[in-house]
Symmetry: C2
Subunit: 188 residues, 2 copies
């Protein structure tokens, strides 16, 4: 096949996207580095952890969600652990496994920095969009996400409990319930 080039419309959209995402990512990185002392990716790691019922996730799952290599994640988590935002724990049912658990301190950082983060997100993005555009953006990004990740919230549009960018009344202890024993092999 002789390469289907982009149509003029697609070209314009692509060029605009590249410029905008560069600007956005850069602004966010700067703000978070300044405000939370970590780059956006690391912040996102904490955020993902915070959205989980148990506030913890296996390394591999996390790496897959973030679409980064395990090696890279190891480094990132090591850094976050050093800073006390995350704690490593052994995986109960799979002795190879490691789960990264958000510490209370990590949660606190998330809560403390959320206002500034939200403000930046507003200033750079939502302040310039109409409500229609907001939902269009959601549609578009969801489509991409679904296509590339093959997974994600197909039927669960919003984890609803998410403290991410929302006020959350200081961490309720969250009742114990094993995260996801692989449906087989349980006891020793």
């Amino acid at each position: 096949m002789t390469t289907r080039w982009l149509t003029p419309e697609e070209q314009r959209a692509w060029r605009a996207y590249v410029a905008a995402s560069l600007l956005l990512e850069d602004t966010l990185d700067r703000q978070l580095q300044q405000d939370a002392g970590m780059p956006h990716l690391y912040y996102t790691i904490l955020a993902y952890l915070s959205e989980t019922p148990e506030r913890r996730l296996r390394m591999t799952d996390l790496a897959e969600k973030l679409k980064i290599t395990r090696s890279r994640l190891t480094y990132a988590v090591a850094r976050l652990e050093k800073d006390g935002h995350v704690r490593r724990e052994a995986c109960k049912w799979d002795k190879r496994g490691t789960v990264a658990a958000l510490t209370d301190e990590g949660m606190a950082v998330l809560e403390r920095t959320a206002p500034g983060h939200v403000a930046t997100v507003r200033a750079t993005l939502f302040d310039h969009l109409t409500p229609e555009q907001v939902s269009q953006l959601e549609e578009i990004c969801t489509a991409v996400e679904r296509a590339l990740q093959g997974d994600g919230s197909e039927a669960a549009p919003a984890p609803e409990g998410l403290p991410w960018l929302r006020r959350s009344s200081s961490s309720p202890p969250s009742p114990p319930s094993s995260s996801s024993p692989p449906s087989s092999s349980c006891g020793s």
Copy 2:
């Protein structure tokens, strides 16, 4: 003011955007690194240069377009120059200035890798969007760009001559025309 949190719609849009842009950027970086031996940012530098009538741009202009520090750009251009994709030239009318010029080899790289790049862009983005969504995306990103950059193509929607992501019949010599002498101070 007590922080205007994101509405549920905005939250969903934001979450989707973050996930999608992570995925996209990562996929692109990987593909370009693999295929053209450089990260997306560097590729974008070449692309910007290629869109210019003279295929050259002053460092400062380039840095502004990319919204990166001059220091960072210096490093990037040094790398691109070492690889032969770009050549540094003195600026005629301002002896402080440096212009980065795309070499034929750099142009060749762009042309050689364009098909793969387009394919990736299609596979990750446009294949999943309706024509309406494409133009919505353009609108949205343009709004962000305009807001954050305060500049950009306000009245010039598409540089039209751009070889970026389009077939371009092997570099026509492009007639000489000084890029942009600052409209004053011409002679010695």
